[in-house]
């Protein structure tokens, strides 16, 4: 079963020529995401399952193998969630942004 991901409201974010820069308003931690992670971040609307995001965005744009790509993407999302900049649920979420 796929997870759902939404961007946390406690961040500031801007795309700098394709590289997403994110600042946590809670602890001032600064993050930069590479192109693949940026695509996942931008698609994190809380309603689209991660499996669909991986299929439609990651695999389609970066020619990745679906199973491995999903595992990597879920690992990434859990790491970002640990830092409070992404919200994860097994149910659809209301994206704050």
């Amino acid at each position: 079963m796929s997870i759902y991901i939404a961007r946390s409201p406690a961040v500031s974010a801007r795309s700098l020529d394709g590289e997403m820069i994110i600042m946590s308003t809670k602890d001032s931690k600064l993050f930069t995401l590479n192109e693949v992670a940026t695509e996942i971040w931008q698609a994190a609307d809380g309603r689209t399952p991660l499996s669909r995001i991986v299929q439609d965005v990651v695999c389609a744009k970066f020619e990745a193998e679906p199973e491995a790509a999903y595992a990597d993407a879920e690992d990434l999302c859990r790491r970002l969630a640990e830092h409070g900049i992404l919200v994860i649920s097994d149910q659809p979420l209301e994206s704050a942004r």
Partner: protein
């Protein structure tokens, strides 16, 4: 998907390095990643050293400010500093901050804090303001209050620090070191007691309209020597001393003003920096990107490299100076040296600089560049000043 994310924590070298990389990338792509927007020059304090004339009106209204924020977000600005004057005097302050946060800006506020009560602190925390800078001038209430000319302001500012800190906001005490003296150790102890960071600035700048009266409030050479002898007042100085190759140094420039950041006045005038009051255009007449990309003033600034600097280009302290082109501009020539920077660098490095201890080189020529000659003094663009508050501006 290895290395998909870089993470850097506040206060670490890794974060400084990441911010430097972001700033360099923004500059290379012509993106103003950082903007300082003054919401008003009105203030409820009357600090003796202030560089603003609080009687100047003509502030942008809420709709205009929101329009500017839309433009800044579209231009790629991420780091937004909202300042003044005193931002809490704007009745729409929360509406502006909420709008900025809806556009995902990283919002930093500069305030004296004396109007920030429990409710205001709650609201800023809810809105996701990340950092608040509060000005404190002494650990002694009577000294601070004498500088702000508002009795009780010290205690009210300190209360605001505590309120914001208790809600998880990053609070930093900002100290402008002026004649009359602060005890660095006592202020540092106060900041530690409050659990907040502290940053000092030992340069009292001229007023934004060119009036150099506040400069007389700079600390004496003896006090400056004492200031720079205290390693705790300048954290991160080692970064400024990092060696650079001669080519890198001479092809570089001294700060990001006009390169990856700029300043916007409450009246909508765009300038390189609040300390570099060269009007490059008005947001009431042109779009932000038109001004940012095409104004002759910004174009000129971006063309200046260290090798072009009349005095600083041959100074042995150039790599460690932290030269402010705005101070040089206010002393007459953006390509020249400023006595204030020369003095600071001398006391920091103990190496004589072109204008301090004694001028050895005439910093002229002044105002000889083609675009500079077209500059309109800022005062000519400001609305008429009220009452007897007019300050005579220097002819620059």
């Amino acid at each position: 998907m290895a290395d998909v994310v870089s993470i850097a924590t506040a206060g670490t070298g890794a974060r400084t390095s990441l911010l430097d990389r972001i700033g360099a990338k923004a500059e290379a792509r012509g993106i103003p990643i950082s903007v300082h927007l003054d919401l008003t020059w009105a203030c409820n304090e009357g600090c003796v050293h202030c560089y603003l004339d609080h009687s100047v009106g003509g502030d942008m209204n809420t709709t205009e400010i929101k329009g500017v924020l839309d433009q800044l977000a579209a231009a790629g600005v991420m780091f937004l500093t909202l300042s003044g004057g005193e931002i809490m005097l704007r009745k729409d302050i929360f509406e502006i901050v909420a709008y900025a946060r809806s556009l995902l800006f990283d919002v930093r506020l500069k305030t004296n804090g004396i109007l920030i009560g429990e409710g205001e602190a709650d609201r800023f925390a809810e809105l996701g303001v990340r950092e608040v800078n509060i000005s404190i001038y002494s650990h002694l209430p009577e000294v601070h209050d004498a500088i702000t000319r508002v009795p009780g302001s010290f205690l009210r500012s300190i209360e605001a620090v505590k309120r914001l800190k208790s809600r998880g906001l990053a609070v930093e005490i900002r100290v402008c070191v002026i004649k009359g003296g602060v005890s660095y150790a006592r202020l540092r102890a106060l900041a530690e007691e409050l659990g907040v960071r502290i940053q000092y600035d030992a340069t009292v700048a001229p007023m934004i309209d060119g009036d150099r009266t506040p400069v007389s409030l700079n600390i004496s050479p003896e006090e400056r020597a004492e200031f720079y002898a205290d390693p705790a007042v300048l954290p991160g100085l080692e970064d400024a001393c990092a060696p650079a190759s001669a080519d890198e140094l001479m092809n570089g420039h001294s700060c990001g003003a006009g390169h990856n950041g700029c300043y916007i006045s409450p009246q909508g005038d765009v300038m390189p920096c609040v300390q570099f009051p060269l009007v490059c255009g008005s947001l009431r007449q042109s779009s932000f990107l038109e001004i940012w990309k095409f104004s002759p003033q910004f174009t000129e600034i971006r063309g200046i490299r260290n090798r072009d600097l009349h005095v600083c280009g041959s100074c042995s302290s150039l790599s460690s100076c932290g030269r402010c082109p705005g101070l040089a501009f206010q002393e007459g020539n953006m390509r020249g040296a400023s006595r204030q920077d020369c003095e600071n660098t001398y006391f920091r490095t103990k190496v004589p600089t072109p204008l301090y201890p004694a001028p050895e080189i005439d910093p002229a020529p002044r105002r000889q560049t083609p675009v500079s000659s077209q500059f309109v003094p800022l005062t000519a663009l400001l609305p008429a000043q009220r009452d007897g508050a007019h300050r005579e501006s220097a002819a620059y």
